[in-house]
Symmetry: D3
Subunit: 262 residues, 6 copies
Amino acid sequence: MRENRLRTLWRNDQAAINGWLAIPNSFAAETMAHQGWDTLTIDLQHGVVDYQAMVTMLQAISTTPTVPIVRVPWLEPGIIMKTLDAGAYGVICPMVNTREDAQKFVAYTHYAPKGTRSFGPVRALLYGGADYPQHANDTIVRFAMIETAQALDNLDSILSVEGLDAVYIGPSDLSLSLGCRPVFDDVDAPVAQAIEHILERATAHGLKAGVHNGRTDVALARVAKGFRFVTVGSDARLLAAGSQDILKSMRAAPGAALGGGY
Amino acid sequence: MRENRLRTLWRNDQAAINGWLAIPNSFAAETMAHQGWDTLTIDLQHGVVDYQAMVTMLQAISTTPTVPIVRVPWLEPGIIMKTLDAGAYGVICPMVNTREDAQKFVAYTHYAPKGTRSFGPVRALLYGGADYPQHANDTIVRFAMIETAQALDNLDSILSVEGLDAVYIGPSDLSLSLGCRPVFDDVDAPVAQAIEHILERATAHGLKAGVHNGRTDVALARVAKGFRFVTVGSDARLLAAGSQDILKSMRAAPGAALGGGY
Amino acid sequence: MRENRLRTLWRNDQAAINGWLAIPNSFAAETMAHQGWDTLTIDLQHGVVDYQAMVTMLQAISTTPTVPIVRVPWLEPGIIMKTLDAGAYGVICPMVNTREDAQKFVAYTHYAPKGTRSFGPVRALLYGGADYPQHANDTIVRFAMIETAQALDNLDSILSVEGLDAVYIGPSDLSLSLGCRPVFDDVDAPVAQAIEHILERATAHGLKAGVHNGRTDVALARVAKGFRFVTVGSDARLLAAGSQDILKSMRAAPGAALGGGY
Amino acid sequence: MRENRLRTLWRNDQAAINGWLAIPNSFAAETMAHQGWDTLTIDLQHGVVDYQAMVTMLQAISTTPTVPIVRVPWLEPGIIMKTLDAGAYGVICPMVNTREDAQKFVAYTHYAPKGTRSFGPVRALLYGGADYPQHANDTIVRFAMIETAQALDNLDSILSVEGLDAVYIGPSDLSLSLGCRPVFDDVDAPVAQAIEHILERATAHGLKAGVHNGRTDVALARVAKGFRFVTVGSDARLLAAGSQDILKSMRAAPGAALGGGY
Amino acid sequence: MRENRLRTLWRNDQAAINGWLAIPNSFAAETMAHQGWDTLTIDLQHGVVDYQAMVTMLQAISTTPTVPIVRVPWLEPGIIMKTLDAGAYGVICPMVNTREDAQKFVAYTHYAPKGTRSFGPVRALLYGGADYPQHANDTIVRFAMIETAQALDNLDSILSVEGLDAVYIGPSDLSLSLGCRPVFDDVDAPVAQAIEHILERATAHGLKAGVHNGRTDVALARVAKGFRFVTVGSDARLLAAGSQDILKSMRAAPGAALGGGY
Amino acid sequence: MRENRLRTLWRNDQAAINGWLAIPNSFAAETMAHQGWDTLTIDLQHGVVDYQAMVTMLQAISTTPTVPIVRVPWLEPGIIMKTLDAGAYGVICPMVNTREDAQKFVAYTHYAPKGTRSFGPVRALLYGGADYPQHANDTIVRFAMIETAQALDNLDSILSVEGLDAVYIGPSDLSLSLGCRPVFDDVDAPVAQAIEHILERATAHGLKAGVHNGRTDVALARVAKGFRFVTVGSDARLLAAGSQDILKSMRAAPGAALGGGY
């Protein structure tokens, strides 16, 4: 089975730099994949993407060594299994708030006897190779999102579920749940403490920790603290931020024969 | 009929800042349109976009005041007329190399008696309004691309074709045609001279001039010289450049626990 | 945040005239939106529409002042939250049969602390504006469908769930559940009584009531009774009914040289 | 090969009632096809439809006895032949203005030795049957659009091209070309005369004549005059007209608690 | 309502030969449907297909007498009901492991009073006919997949749920669940015994039994034993196996001027 | 720039085994590409494929070492250049009947000064590499189809056009043009002679020859004669032939409890 380079990075105690895909298009995904991201996550939850668009994006990523990961919309078995059959090498599941949630997630993503994943890796065989059925359980990476006060309360009971590989922190949702402002980087103090706590407990349980960032300096600081999977921005944010950079620098030029925009 | 804000800018002797769309997706287009570009050009020629994707992109742009423009793949009547019927307020036609080319282009984009455009503005009526048929000829903007040595030879005979509104310069193709390197900004001397010459002749004929740029400083310099329609970059370049900025700044951080990429 | 014109109508004690979209296409949706419907509901339940088509339809509606509403396929958190992130300003949830159903629905559609909606309004920010996160809870409208005998039994316990804005009645399903013929307009007596009862109780709880109609006279009569959201027909029915009008009037013409159809 | 029911109607000297498809969607097309139109024309010229959407619409029509016809965007061999390979049983070609245009059109739509159509009827074999190659030349119907002053000047030389089956009149374009208002039904006098003239000459040459109408009374009157293929309206017009009927009758109701629309 | 030819075969005690569709494309589906399969199953679970692609595939199948069946991704009411509304005449539900699972499945697929299926058969009316609402309950076929050890334990309590029509065996999943190799045909002994047992119990309860096969000889042997619905292969396997046949026979030719492949 | 493995095979005097894609879907294409074809040709002419579907198919092929080739619909510059920009490494142009046709084809597919290809290899840069502009002229392969009596008459003047790399023979069209039956393999004598003649003249001019075949024995025999690019079958034929093999062998089984099909 094709190597999961994310696991290789982790074996070397290195963090993956993860890109984020919210645009439902294979050419955008292919363009992103050719830039050298370690991993790219197709966001089926908050991204404007559903299953069929995801398939073409997975194909586009498969033209490069970038590892394809998918954030599923919810802890629902139908779409989680379809995502794996389509060849995702990692799955991020939102809102894992209880031990039971974590157990379900682990079950849905392992073949029997470890779990209840149904057999039929139609595209995964093309991407992973003919021995995918033998190695999928150990190759795929499962991220549980810890992003609510409830999940914090249940943290150790979640993290001790066998078969979970990593946690992923969404600072926005975590902030909202703790009554703070929904931001990625400059989080309020209670959120900052919660993030440190999650990192510490995940590490203690032998799991990797990942986190969503807006800026590279924040991502680097979090890697330094021990995060081993850091997202920076997204395709849609690159379009918006890049456009604004251009437009601001143009419209700020003194005396240029330009309109004021709208 | 809905105002063409590009013409309004021009009446005020102001340049439009134009964005460029090569990704065939309406959410990417909508994201771009919300950033404040004066105009956005959907590129059916070198962009990864065909007619049906273009329609959804035009709809996405129509949620904002940004003016929708389309570069057609070639001087072919079928697609040019379909583009207008879909509601484009400007058309950029590549490779207008002779007076006959320019005459055809003008004919395809005007209703009789000025031209031979067939009648059926199905979506254009929604976007432009019920009086579109009466005003389309005067509202739509037609750009002829001047991008070959042959076009330079025929420049005045092209520019004097009645009904043409503007020229658009593709520095890459113009460079290739003149035996130079295909770049947008730091063009070789013969290309720089040709660009100045086109601008000067277009202005003399009462036409506006537009040009494709890679950087904002170049675009501003060209506005200062008299260009009134300047493209900077494209959606695909924003994804690539933005990703590389992130990845380079991350991987350049000394001592970070990161892999070297691939 | 962009105003929700449906709430404005309601503040003026006026009913919204709602159109219904079952065709999964953005041009059909745009054509409908340009006719002046107060609201348009994209039907993900019985319409031939899934998420990705819905996004392009929401974009098409966003070119007009018509308020975009979505009926979701079922009380499932994944698709409900995706629908809101895509910019729906109202959600109609089928088969809300118990207080627990209503509580879940309300939770899925409110950010913390009121609910458990996950944060990531990717397209909703474009449509609603940058302050969407602050105002979404109060701007979005939530309709619970009351359409079974079980829901009638639990009516007051459903209607008293805080955060619910309105009910929506599907006369067909309600009829089936009460053992009557599945029709929209000329419902059997038990259904007519149930509809009146729901309207009365919803009003008593301070909620608005909506209902699906086939004909305008029925819709007007229901508005007169107090309904404040009335659907008439659907895009697919307009195609069918309009075609049949043409074909019948043609084939009924005496002596016309026409075939008899098939 | 599957019968072309349009030819059968013509052998019985009966007119076909033709519906018109501008919405690029197979469910809309299937809904239309189930209403009993003799023929349905997918409009690749002014409709919002390209090739790939057309294929799914042809499949949808193929679920019924309605005969599938396509109006191509222009007299271009690539798309004309692709349309036939996809199973169209009739082709309407716009802007046939000269004898040479008509000859090209006839050539593109016949296999050798009659024409130059390339061989590869991939979907047409499924729809038409295994003997499609033997009978396609005689089964497919070719309509040349006569819609300009130039075409009127060349009328007899166009109509005498062997292999042409019918003409189709677009009153809008014909009106524009004659300096009149672009309407379908209540055309100006010069257009009315031109239409009668085309009908008379087509009939004299043994060709059938078709025409685009807005209303059924006009269509019936034209059948009575001898037209044997009459289009009434389109899918997009049914949506618009049907919506306006509902909205007007609702908003016109005295005292109804409705807003005034926008 | 249009006949369900699968039920007709069963009334004659004949087995249906079922094809399997994993490619999300209507032309592939139409090509398959024209070959004479009794039934074709669109696989939304392990196939690379979601709802919107499925609709176009159902339309393609509807151009032939082949009966359209859908395997849904999971026992989830939203997609099950959407599938029926789209015109599926049979539904295969994976992982029916308990009596409660079976009861839910039966409820989701019957209108009241038998079940809780919501009313709105938008495309099903086109395919099935205007009397679809009256006859759908008795016409549609429901297959519960028996594919785990748990389901074997609950077999009789599952099979005795009223309203279930048939079982379908996925030998791969059943094998995995029993600790055996995941294959279709040459199953390990415990799986072979389980398959016979399921067939025997289903027959005893008056249900039909179906099974997935890789080869025709196995399918025939299973028909001889009493299976009345046998799948052989899939569209994707036909592409893979057919390509390999060609490439192997070519590359095996002695002395041919061919490369060795990659 | 990424190697063109087709040219490598040719340098070794080896023939490429070419697969053919008529199904407009990226998963079907990816499945085909993983079987080991040397090259795969996406057929935009007779296949049910247009540009946008082609892009996703090219991406799918790019996940493997198979070389992507496209047959364009016609000798039209717009689509030919779009195809190259999308990353095709070979182009097959139908109906090259005259020296002028060949010259145009060569011009459209070379950058200046050799030709008139417009510059903007948006996706080709991703697939081919950053130095694509420098090497594209020499890396891409151009096939002119010789398939009419007219082309035979002009054979040497076509073959001597500098910049042409190969010819491709469509036996069906060639047969029709010579008044014979349209078949691939067991062609009539005049066609057989023409094929030999084309092979001989192409070889004499230093060009490679390719041909469409239905069976492997014919393809092998043609390789033995000197053809260096042989197509066998197509994806759609694999579906049809494979299905018929299954259905015939099933229905032929004596005494099986099967229906007779339809």
